[in-house]
């Protein structure tokens, strides 16, 4: 019997979109939680730049390029990254943004990356680009997914691009004949899709697919966060359990199973 027989129609549709397109975007499950993260990011940015707190966090983040230089960008990024990850409510809130989608695509016994990443892409800045890659090529397990959350509207080069699943295998087969990741991008460029995500939505994508970003040619600054989730009992790669991932949901049956010992003392 197919496993889809056990899923609700909306779950089946979501699962099929993920398989076919390599990603799904949905409204954040916890909009208030997303607004809280956005507000805190803007507060931390203002703190770093010694600016008064803004009552419009969206505008503050989207126009940050007017207030920070490329040389100071990583300092700002680290300040906001460390500040957000230090908040005890941050990671549970991040999970709640996409909980229903994660549970449909991945499962309900989960581990989560220990620190949620933050990217800031100023317009015209080439200093912190991510070349074409699959996360699996740098030590992630193919059993992981990425939850990618923008703090501003993203579209075109202000967003990230993804290669569709239908082309990924073919392009991977050609990779070894290419010299660099930039050459790889030039090869996949006609097929790569920049994903449009309005603020208030989240994306969950298949990180075995090639993806990356280019110089942001839009007028606003991109702020986005990303974090990996996987089923806790699925295989790990170089990003190990304990050092990179930690459990967030472990069900009682699994706890019982891990503690159970068969009766011993037989000498037959």
């Amino acid at each position: 019997m197919m496993d889809t027989d056990f899923l609700q129609p909306d779950e089946q549709a979501l699962a099929q979109r993920f398989i076919d397109d390599g990603f799904v975007t949905t409204r954040a499950d916890d909009r208030n939680g997303l607004d809280r993260i956005q507000r805190r990011a803007a507060e931390l940015a203002a703190d770093y730049l010694k600016l008064p707190p803004s009552n419009d966090p969206y505008a503050m983040l989207d126009s940050i390029h007017a207030r920070v230089s490329v040389d100071d960008l990583n300092g700002l990024r680290l300040h906001v990254f460390n500040g957000l990850n230090a908040e005890p409510w941050f990671r549970p809130t991040y999970f709640r943004l996409a909980r229903s989608t994660i549970e449909t695509i991945v499962g309900n016994e989960l581990c989560m990356q220990r620190r949620v990443n933050l990217s800031i892409q100023l317009p015209g800045d080439s200093s912190s680009l991510l070349a074409t890659h699959s996360d699996v090529w740098s030590g992630d397990s193919p059993f992981e997914v990425v939850v990618w959350v923008p703090l501003v509207d993203v579209q075109r080069t202000k967003s990230m691009y993804l290669l569709p699943p239908s082309l990924n295998g073919e392009m991977q087969d050609r990779m070894a004949s290419l010299r660099s990741a930039e050459e790889l991008y030039k090869t996949i460029k006609p097929h790569a899709t920049f994903i449009e995500i309005p603020y208030g939505h989240v994306m969950l994508f298949n990180q075995t697919l090639m993806h990356g970003n280019r110089v942001n040619e839009e007028p606003g600054t991109r702020w986005s966060m990303n974090c990996r989730f996987k089923s806790i009992m699925s295989p790990y790669a170089d990003k190990r359990f304990g050092e990179f991932f930690e459990p967030i949901l472990l069900r009682p049956a699994t706890r019982v199973g891990m503690q159970y010992k068969l009766p011993g003392g037989f000498h037959g």
């Binding site: 070349a131 699996v136 090529w137 740098s138 030590g139 990779m175 660099s180 170089d238 990003k239 050092e243």
Partner: protein, 130 residues
């Protein structure tokens, strides 16, 4: 010439000499090295896990005209093929850059230093430390 940006870190997911270091630890080692040597550290690029792939290193080499140099986590991340390594040294030095290896505290900034680096790699290839 345009102003150069700093030193790009280079880490990886493949085991080195049979042992592995988590990527965040590799970054800590590189960042500490850069701090002690007074180098401006630029975020590391992570090499592919597939054996024999140096596509990410090639991207950094293409970036050299805009850099002061690169900091490898370890000298043993360089390609196993000596001719390919020598091409890398040539490119780095030709661009007026230098190459560092954080774990081994190696700096290659002139042609005179190449043989010392090669000696380490070749001895490691043939000798076994028990």
């Amino acid at each position: 010439m345009a102003e150069r940006a700093g030193h790009r870190g280079y880490i990886g997911a493949r085991p080195l000499n049979g042992s592995r270091s988590p990527q965040h630890v590799q970054n800590i080692v590189i960042r500490d090295y850069a701090r002690r040597k007074n180098l401006q550290y630029l975020l590391s690029a992570a090499e592919h896990i597939m054996p024999g792939s140096y596509m990410v290193l090639e991207d950094i080499l293409d970036e050299l005209p805009r850099l002061n140099g690169l900091i490898l986590y370890s000298i043993f991340m360089l390609p196993a093929d000596e001719a390919r390594r020598r091409e890398i040294y040539d490119r780095v030095l030709r661009e007026g850059c230098d190459l560092h290896a954080a774990v081994e505290e190696i700096t290659l900034s002139s042609r005179e230093g190449i043989q010392a680096v090669e000696d380490i790699l070749l001895v490691n290839k043939y000798a076994t430390i028990l």
